[in-house]
């Protein structure tokens, strides 16, 4: 029988197996050793590996990121966990000015093998400061790798890959993915960076869904199927490096690209994927593009506005439909198709900001 884990369990298993394998791996962050250990992803690690290798930090994101970098320079492989990506903004100097540049500006004398795990929050009135998907900020910076897996399988495989990578890796999770289950082999394995996954095939439109939006894209695909549209759904998995080859193959078939991100679109991952697509196809294949992401405001807390702030399966389907039929969205999936349309579990609402 196929072994299934949640995304959170997959992350925990990857961490545990790598810590078993390599004594230089350590886990640090606010609440990694806690009765509510980062949604279970760090549960039991301190008991197993001891306080030296798994430790809570003071509230000091910039400083503790520097500590992680320094430990990495000395040969450790720290995994630094942030329960919200929003807090990583406090550590931008260490990440961008130090971690991303140490190797280059030392002419290769050192390297900084750190993994920065951070979680994009969503739902239950998280609000403006607990909901940001800021992966594009890191994609902008040479010297950082960025990965944002959407399945438990890839969560485990890319986390192991991240830990073994000799460079700083921003590991982006999404709060609503933690409860999602999927097949995960017990044996340790890596999923390489720079390889996108075609989650479902289709001939009419290519939907690239980042992180949690890969799941929404799959749901949208079911809606579209009933409207006679075949959507190919691609999960880039890693954002830096970005596997444009796979996206290009799909676009040569469909000629239509919809990129859906759990982040803003301006200078976002969706902009980059769209423009690289165009750079590759221009002169060779007509291409129509479209981006969806956070509304260009801060995330409001009240539910009716929050629902408008985020793209979801229905709006993705509408946008894809418009792209295919070359007109502004007029079509909406029928209400009744919602249940049937969901290939994954409905979002599990969670309460509280953590």
């Amino acid at each position: 029988m196929e072994r299934r884990l949640t995304y959170a369990e997959a992350i925990r298993e990857a961490t545990l197996q790598e810590m078993d394998r390599d004594p230089s791996v350590v886990v640090m962050g606010l609440g990694v050793e806690d009765p509510k250990p980062i949604y279970g992803t760090t549960r039991g690690l301190a008991e197993r590996f001891g306080a030296d290798r798994v430790f809570n930090t003071p509230l000091a994101e910039e400083g503790m990121t520097g500590v992680a970098i320094g430990a990495a320079l000395a040969g450790l492989r720290p995994i630094h966990v942030h329960i919200r990506m929003d807090f990583v903004l406090l550590a931008m100097n260490q990440l961008v000015n130090i971690a991303a540049k140490s190797r280059y500006m030392s002419g290769g004398a050192v390297s900084v093998p750190i993994v920065v795990r951070s979680i994009i929050g969503k739902s239950w009135g998280q609000g403006a400061q607990h909901s940001q998907g800021l992966h594009a900020l890191f994609m902008h910076i040479p010297g950082l790798k960025v990965v944002a897996p959407s399945t438990p399988y890839d969560a485990k495989g890319t986390l192991i890959q991240s830990i073994r990578d000799d460079n700083p890796v921003m590991f982006v999770e999404h709060r609503l993915l933690h409860g999602v289950t999927g097949p995960v082999p017990e044996i340790p394995y890596t999923v390489p960076f720079g390889r996108a996954r075609v989650l479902a095939e289709g001939d009419d439109v290519t939907i690239v869904g980042i992180s949690h939006m890969a799941i929404e894209a799959l749901r949208a695909r079911a809606h579209l199927e009933r409207a006679g549209i075949g959507a190919e759904v691609i999960d880039p998995v890693s954002l830096s490096p970005l596997d444009m080859d796979s996206i290009e193959v799909s676009l040569r078939k469909t000629g239509r690209l919809l990129v859906v991100d759990c982040g803003w679109t301006t200078c976002g991952a969706s902009a980059e994927i769209a423009v690289q697509s165009m750079e590759r196809l221009q002169g060779a294949r007509d291409l129509r593009i479209r981006r969806l992401g956070f509304a260009p405001v801060a995330c409001p807390t009240t539910r009716p506005l929050e629902d408008l702030f985020y793209p979801d399966a229905r709006r993705i389907a509408s946008a894809a439909y418009a792209l295919v039929h070359d007109k502004p969205e007029l079509w909406e999936p029928p209400e009744a198709s919602d249940e049937a349309g969901a290939p994954g579990p409905a979002d599990i609402e969670f309460k509280g900001p953590f």
Partner: protein, 313 residues
């Protein structure tokens, strides 16, 4: 004054108990960080402030908002996500604001309003205004570098700020001793050369007395900021309506010692019964009204999504 203090503490306590009671209905779709047990700090502080003084707080902000005079109806509506909320439903429990009453806003990023309080005080000072600014934050915030940067500038420029650290001994579930080398927050503050004192904040009268003294000094002597560490205790879980003694990170006994010294009960006992009953009844009526207001209010319409990003002339 005793009646005022009692009313304020009791009102906050009851509002938050009511929030906790309503929470399972899922109509408050917002994380709530309750101050139950910690009310004496906000009340003692705000009763020592003038209406034109301002406060900056945190996501654990109901108590400070109410104590400073923030509108209860609009707070309740905010928790419900309604258009009549103090932030028109866009901020929720963690971002209460009532500028008219000097509640200048709160942040869900620990420590991040501290420098704003200092900046506000800078403006007051250079414009010759008498207003004073209180910055309220938790024991965790002291660990952030920005706390130091803020206090450094406040002392350097001798700004009218009262720094109030609500030391409830935990940041989420991590005790202070796991995060800070020593339990000596005051000493660290004092190293910048400002007066800093620790007080047990289980007695709102004492808290108020010390706050009033500090406020008086800051306002009259214009010699710069002061720092007060208020030792207090959170009775409920870090976020949410319930208790959390089952989690194992702290014991019910530890809490019981604080609950026994409940400021609200002790102060209530000092009032004469009919006066107390009148206050209590008025509070209940006000809460009922606020909840009704919140429930009856409309949600913001879809056009609200794009409003309020920028202020354009």
């Amino acid at each position: 004054m005793m009646a005022r203090l009692y009313r304020s503490v009791r009102r906050i306590r009851r509002v938050e108990e009511e929030i906790a009671r309503l929470y399972p209905t899922d109509r408050i779709k917002s994380p709530v960080h309750l101050s139950i047990g910690q009310e004496a700090v906000s009340v003692g502080l705000c009763e020592a402030l003038r209406p034109d003084d301002v406060v900056f707080g945190t996501y654990r902000g109901h108590a400070l908002y109410l104590a400073k005079g923030g509108d209860l109806r609009r707070m309740m509506a905010e928790l419900y996500g309604k258009a009549t909320g103090c932030a028109r439903g866009k901020g929720g429990s963690m971002h209460l604001i009532d500028v008219a009453h000097g509640v200048m806003g709160a942040s869900a990023v620990v420590g991040s309003t501290i420098p704003q309080a200092v900046g506000y005080a800078y403006a007051c000072k250079v414009r010759g205004q008498e207003a004073l600014v209180a910055s309220v934050f938790g024991d965790g915030a002291v660990e952030e570098g920005v706390f130091h940067e803020s206090i450094q500038f406040a002392v350097l420029k001798a700004l009218p700020v009262l720094f109030v650290c609500e030391n409830n001994f935990y940041a989420i579930h991590t005790p202070l001793a796991e995060r800070q080398p020593f339990d000596n927050i005051c000493e660290r503050a004092r190293s910048y050369g400002l007066p800093a004192a620790r007080l047990e904040a289980d007695d709102v009268l004492r808290v108020h007395e010390r706050m009033a003294e500090a406020v008086h000094h800051i306002r009259r002597q214009r010699a710069g900021p002061q720092f007060l560490e208020c030792r207090t205790y959170r009775w409920r879980e870090h976020v949410g309506p319930g208790e959390d003694f089952d989690l194992g990170y702290r014991s019910r006994e530890e809490a019981a010692a604080w609950m026994e010294r409940d400021s609200c009960v002790r102060l209530g006992a000092l009032l004469d019964e009919p006066a107390r009953a009148r206050i209590d009844a008025a509070i209940e009526a006000e809460i009922e009204d606020a909840v009704r207001f919140a429930e009856a209010s409309p949600f913001p319409g879809p056009e609200e999504l794009h409003a309020d990003l920028f202020r354009e002339a």
